[in-house]
Amino acid sequence: MHDGAISTVFFYLFAASSIALALGVVLGRRLLRSAICLIGVLGSSAGLTLVLGFEFVAGIQVLVFIGGIVVMLLFAIMMTSQGHTFEQQPTLRRRVAGATVAAAFFTVTLSAYLNADFPVPTAEQLAVSHEGADEIGRKLLSNQGDGYIVPFEVISLLLLSALIGGIVIARKHAPEDEESDQDQGLANHPSDVGR
């Protein structure tokens, strides 16, 4: 799927939709709508990955990014803010500054890309198929010099600790904890200071 007119068409299609939806994510004032737009962006990205010929990664993107992360974000939105209320407009100053910085970043990055000499892929290199997930799996679990077994294990630890950390941070305090918190004074309660 990485060559030919169809892929070209799909590229421009997905590119246009992802840019439009991304703008929707950052400009929309309704959080829920932004989240839906994000799903669209991620879906287009998965499509782009598919255009490149990486079916496995595209599948993971859909499964984890859309199915996991964005769904979790939707939960958070529903738990925390009322989806129907508008988010307040940022100040004009902030918007101008943000746009300037983002534009500058884009310019610099693009000029860096344009000035870099990337090796030009040959036709046969582009013809290599990447459709099998088995090589990725082998690479991930290889303990050879070019294997990723250690980062893989570290990532698993990271996920576990993130899970535990998330529970610890977000859980409701039990009544006896509340008392002990009060005993410790206000310093442990930034919320009380803020109120």
Binding site: R94, V101, F105, V108, A112
Partner: protein, 652 residues
């Protein structure tokens, strides 16, 4: 020199150190009485070990042998410039060891009675043990740096003990005075050490594989060791180099060292601290300011005697300063009425005597050297005895002023008998200890054809007899002059037993041939003529004392009045203290005060200015600290972009 005690001579100074730790751990609060026991026991063990060392030395070693028997490397700067910690055993260090440990033991025991019930009882014993440790380390030092370290340590312990009664303003002032004056002198000593270390090291290293200059220089030859410095070839080479003010380098170095020695030994004009140091407890005066620490200067000069002898000018200075101090202090002692001050000036005078003896010695005629050591040894005993006796009297009467004493002969028989022994000894009455050592000094001066110094010596001998008997008569004879003196009674045995032991030493100490021990192989001969002169001088002094103070006459006051201004001048110690005070005020007004102004306004001002600038700047920057993480983020990305652009531009 082999044997357990030689190789482990470090155990001797280690004993008081252990005592300090034990006192610190065990003798606290209610148990503070234990401190005296621990301190005395430790120093007792040290004394026994010293005796063992002495006996082993006499039996096993050659006569006059000197050896570093134990040594550990401490600081290595370069080859031949290594500071080590060790024990040097030779006749004079052995002599000092015996003096220090025995007098210290007796003072420790005596203090059990004298200091009983004092609030700072364990503190007192800690300081006393610290002093003993430092003094023993000083005596055993085989190199200049170790000696300097312990030299400062004895200075500190002296400071602590003078200011022992730290609630009394005069004790605090006296301790500060002693510390500052000796520290000032030690600065010169340090300079001397640096000069010697630098040049001797150069000689050892550069001397053509060291052999030509230092003789048999080995890798063990250390520039700061006394053995190296005192080597004839080194001294000759140093004498060959030019110093400052048209003198040779050796003289410069030796004079610098001598200033340090003079400070510690309270030689004129650095003597001002010693009379004031009597503000400390009396046993301390006996141990530190009479018997041991103040003779450290004499010991230092004796240690480096080959250097002084090779540089004849330096030795001449030693002789001049010694004789002058000797005379000067004796004159002042005749007018003082504070019993401890009389003894302090007497100490000054006697140390001057020792310096004088060193000054009249030379490489060819070293008799004065032996005599000086001999006098150091006998003086330690009878002067410690005098102080301890004075302490006993003060303990009984509760005052230092002889005008409030009198008639104590019957009330304090033991104190009286021992004090009289010591007085006779210091006056030079045969056959007591002081007679022999003083006679040797005068004999050495006579032999060296130093007529003036001999004359001074004889005159001072007479003066010594006079002021000591004046003190004795005023204290013990006649009638009681105060109610306290009426009520006085003998001190407890723990105080009188050390007095008796010291009394025996003052009586018999002179019969030991210390000079032969210190100077083996040198022929020493007695002069009957000199003996006669010295005995006659003593007799004149004693007679004068009895004539002036013996009866119920007021001849003393008549004479004092007839002398008028001269008497007042002497009574006020020639106004030396006042001169120093004036000089100090001058320094304060014209150096210290402008320096303080400069510090306060210019240095501090610059600091304050820079602080104010930073503060203003920070207040300005504060505007950016909005607490908005997004703002920070924008600035961060801005910075990143700028860096990228900059790097890109630079790269092109």
């Amino acid at each position: 020199m082999t044997g357990f005690i030689f190789e482990n001579a470090w155990l001797i100074p280690a004993m008081p150190l252990i005592a300090i730790l034990l006192i610190a751990v065990l003798a606290r609060g209610e148990n503070r009485g234990l401190a005296g026991m621990i301190g005395s026991a430790a120093i007792g063990v040290a004394f026994l070990m010293t005796c063992w060392l002495g006996v082993s030395y006499l039996r096993l070693a050659d006569q006059g042998a000197a050896a570093v028997t134990w040594s550990i490397e401490w600081l290595r700067y370069q080859d031949h410039l290594v500071v080590s910690l060790g024990t040097l055993i030779d006749p004079i260090s052995l002599l000092l060891l015996v003096v220090v440990t025995s007098v210290s033991l007796l003072v420790h025991v005596y203090s059990l009675g004298y200091m009983a019930g004092d609030e700072g009882f364990s503190r007192y014993y800690v300081f006393l043990s610290l002093f003993t440790f430092s003094m023993l380390g000083l005596v055993l030092a085989p190199n200049l740096v170790q000696m300097y370290v312990f030299w400062e340590l004895v200075g500190v312990s002296s400071f602590l003990l003078i200011g022992f009664y730290y609630t009394l303003p005069e004790a605090i002032a006296a301790s500060k005075k002693a510390f500052i004056v000796t520290r000032f002198a030690d600065l010169f000593f340090l300079a001397g050490i640096l000069v010697l270390g630098f040049y001797v090291h150069q000689l050892v290293v550069a001397g053509g594989s060291a052999a030509s200059v230092v003789g048999a220089a080995t890798t063990q030859t250390q520039a700061l060791d006394f053995a190296t410095i005192n080597a004839d070839s080194v001294l000759l080479a140093l004498k060959g180099q030019t110093g400052i003010f048209g003198t040779d380098l050796l003289t410069v170095a030796m004079l610098l060292v001598f200033v340090g020695a003079a400070g510690k030994s309270a030689m004129f004009p650095l003597h001002v601290w010693l009379p004031d140091a009597m503000a400390g407890p009396t046993p301390v005066s006996a141990l530190i300011h009479a018997a041991t620490m103040v003779v450290a200067g004499v010991y230092l000069v004796a240690r480096m005697f080959p250097g002084f002898a090779a540089s004849e000018d330096a030795l001449r200075v030693v002789a001049a300063v010694g004789s002058f101090t000797c005379l000067f202090a004796a004159v002042i002692a005749c007018t003082q009425t504070d019993i401890k001050r009389v003894l302090a000036f007497s100490t000054l005078s006697q140390i001057g005597y020792m310096m004088l003896a060193l000054g009249v010695a030379s490489a060819e005629h070293p008799a004065g050297f032996g005599a000086s050591m001999f006098h150091l040894y006998t003086h330690a005993f009878f002067k410690a005895l005098l102080f301890l006796g004075a302490g006993s009297v003060i303990h009984a009467v509760g005052s230092n002023e002889v005008t409030e004493m009198g008639g104590l002969r019957k009330k304090m028989p033991w104190t009286h008998a021992t004090f009289l022994t010591a007085t006779l000894a210091i006056a030079g009455v045969p056959p007591l200890a002081g007679f022999f050592s003083k006679d040797e000094i005068l004999g050495a001066a006579w032999d060296g054809h130093h007529a003036l110094i001999f004359g001074v010596g004889v005159f001072v001998a007479s003066l010594t007899a006079f002021y000591m008997f004046r003190l004795y008569i005023l204290t013990f004879l006649g009638g009681c002059r105060s109610a306290e003196a009426e009520r006085a009674h003998e001190s407890p045995p723990v105080m009188t037993i050390p007095l008796v032991v010291l009394g025996v030493m003052s009586l018999c100490g002179g019969w030991i041939g210390v000079s032969h021990f210190v100077l083996p192989g040198v022929e020493l001969h007695a002069h009957l003529a000199v003996m006669g002169i010295s005995v006659a001088a003593a007799a004149v002094g004693i007679g004068a004392a009895f004539w002036m103070y013996g009866g119920q006459t007021n001849r003393a006051e008549t004479i004092a009045r007839s002398l008028g201004g001269v008497y007042r001048l002497v009574k006020h110690k020639f106004y030396i203290d006042e001169i120093y005070l004036f000089l100090t005020h001058m320094i304060f007004r014209f150096i210290a005060a402008p320096a303080a102004w400069f510090d306060r306004h210019v240095v501090d001002g610059a600091m304050n200015l820079s602080a104010a600038v930073v503060h203003r700047f920070a207040a300005g920057m504060n505007v950016f600290q909005t607490g908005q993480v997004q703002t920070y983020g924008i600035w961060m990305i801005n910075g990143t972009i700028l860096v990228m652009v900059f790097l890109w531009l630079v790269q092109r």
